[in-house]
Symmetry: C3
Subunit: 312 residues, 3 copies
């Protein structure tokens, strides 16, 4: 594998998950693999879990880690070819990507959707700009349209907590006061396509995700019906995709409660707004898997980096 | 020892000080102790000495170090239980503390008093929030009401420079143009309670520190009288505690001078405003211990981390 | 060598260049040299190449690296002696430099010209303040008037690409929408003084560099004439030195094109504004050396650090 940009870069999900669970038991077992190898992590947006867990994963593999907040510490990037750069942008991604490649063996990038311009977001200017011009592998630490390290951590968490041959997994929208990107939801849907699960997406009308991604998935607008007999309920807010980046409403009836959850396990990528996305009682119950999901971020990053290092 | 949150977490001050002085001679002697152990340093406020010396101490012990400016790089934290998080706060400390604990073996936290709300500051929302929910030890890198790493560095510096059985130590207030927290003064007073010293606090009326902390200490409002026969003079500004966080006045008669200092040694935690807190002539004389105090920050952090690591 | 502050700190350029090219072949060959040694990199300004390549160089030498954005993470520094520090500055460079020296073996500093006050810029308050008060060697990561790591990377790049006994090297001004410092141009001129080259500087009238630095160099105001038979063309913008820090004009006739470049190699320190400083066609041709120059930043930093470490 050259890059880890999307869930579709996983060649064999079961073996990745098994290997990640093995890494979790012996995190330092492959410390020699990254010796004298350097990863540069470029953050164009804020981060807690991704920032810490990816560093931890790289250190577990014996890599040298260099972290840079590109926005505040570097130069503003231009992404369009042929531009006369006489305005605010100081450096073209053509140079930046080639240059950074020379200082490391892997580049991690986080660059969120800005939710202003659907076409620009879907073009994934930052991560695709680096992918095109870099000469080393790229690790996606959340881009405009996907968060494949989160989805991989989710898959590991599902594997650890599932005891059915074909569990029912529900992805449920929840209200949120700020417009949020679709990346986590998109990658989770893509991940469910790779699993033998009974998968249902539920959200109010108007909050349909990109139909190219949800194609083949069951969509049920009645949340209660969707949740019937669920084994795992993944709750997440996203803004409208059709009326791009808008909050249509914040219907509190969609907040997850213990009552709605039944006996299912609760999942969320964090950070989570308590009593908006989900009631305290759910997060504080032993049905919540959110802390374990966050823990598995380390091993998701570690297995992805391990695969990259093995193919250098 | 689980945490190092306060001077009172020191089980035996003489042995800590002796061991720190030994570490200073051989900083890398215990490099194996921190092998494959990670410390995450979370800064909610600016820092020079604490930032560099704590990293250095952890590296001396062979630890992996991850630094994060929580305010600018992460998410805004909620600390109150039961809140409906539909305003500006993105993540609850309940999740943040549990999550960060999974990526490391020790968490260092710096979170200053905001000096707006005495009750909130004394509740130590950040450090107590992490203490309550974290599953790994916490190292206090200056909280609202204490700076125990500074006080430990001060104790080391005193031990290195004292040749009397019971030296006279004076803590003297000095003027400053900005309202400053009480943390350094509080921890220094607590540290003096643990020492066999003749301890006097001097400040203008109205600048009384928290009486629960100064209980038992001599308070003398006449600075000249307080300084008589002093062996060590620790100068520090703090804002009013009674009229919380206010600057009552900036009386320049309280600025420390060579004349007032006599033959005593001068101490300050730094950063120090020259010719406001203390005259150039004092800082540039060989009576000043401030550079050595800053140096001892490394070994204060290193002995505290060593004790934490030995008890993991 | 104690410090690397200027090109003039290089004792023997040919041996430095040869050794750097050797380091490029075997970057980790001297990993033992920096063992248990720490470098602190203090950034007072933004940086991409310098930030990453200096870290990489130090890691290649086995050093521990601590990075700090002094402006946003630390305290505002005072540089003038005798000041009553009752305004915005919290700490004097006297203390800061002595203190930081105690936490590391080498200090790297980046502090740009502010272009407001020629005298202040030429006094190099930050780097000279640290040089005066620090007790460990200082590495210049670009100061007000010089960028000797860039000039050293340029010398390495020239050596790798030159096959003439005395090549013609042209430094050509180019337009830019923002007022830029003179540091890169200054250090490149100083570096050319150390080389056996036919060196010509070309710029519009009014953009003369400091004559103390250009003394002895040929200055030709006709760009076309200057470029005749050039082997290497180094293009760079700088603001006026006489009317200090001003943009006199942004004459687009000075933009470098393939036509003007002829068969010469193109050099620039990056970041570069495409189609303002230089046409896309030049940067995208195989005559461009800019990516290799950026690569050589690692080995310039590494040879400078190696020399410093060998003299500790």
């Amino acid at each position: 594998m050259k890059n880890y940009l999307s869930v579709t870069d996983i060649d064999s999900l079961p073996s990745w998950v098994d290997e990640a669970i093995e890494l979790k038991k012996h995190p330092k077992a492959h410390k020699g693999l990254g010796e004298n190898k350097t990863i540069v992590l470029l953050f164009f947006n804020n981060s807690l879990r991704t920032r810490l867990s990816t560093q931890k994963a790289a250190l577990n593999l014996g890599m040298e880690v260099i972290v840079m907040n590109f926005g505040s510490e570097g130069w503003t990037l231009e992404f369009t070819d042929g531009t006369v750069m006489d305005q605010g942008k100081s450096e073209h991604v053509k140079e930046a990507a080639q240059v950074v490649s020379q200082y490391c063996d892997v580049i991690g990038i986080r660059a969120f959707a800005n939710l202003q311009d659907k076409e620009a977001d879907e073009a994934e200017l930052v991560i695709n700009g680096f992918k095109k011009h870099a000469t080393v592998p790229i690790l996606n630490m959340e881009s405009s349209v996907g968060h494949p390290l989160q989805a991989l951590a989710d898959a590991i968490t599902l594997a650890e907590n599932n005891n059915k041959s074909k569990p029912k997994v529900v992805l449920s929208w929840a209200p949120h006061p700020k417009a949020l990107p679709h990346a986590v939801a998109n990658s989770f849907v893509e991940m469910m396509h790779l699993q033998d699960v009974d998968f249902v997406i539920t959200h109010p009308k108007g909050y349909e995700l990109n139909s190219k991604i949800t194609k083949g998935a069951t969509i049920e607008h009645d949340q209660n019906k969707a949740l019937e007999n669920a084994d795992f309920v993944y709750v997440k807010n996203w803004s409208s995709y059709q009326i791009y980046g808008q909050i249509l409403h914040q219907d509190k009836n969609w907040t997850m409660t213990l009552d709605k959850l039944g006996t299912a396990k609760f999942m969320h990528c964090l950070p989570v707004r308590r009593n908006v996305i989900v009631a305290d009682a759910v997060l504080d119950s032993n049905q919540s898997l959110v802390i374990e999901q966050a823990n598995n971020r380390t091993f998701a990053a570690q297995i992805a980096l391990k695969k990259i290092l093995e193919n250098l």
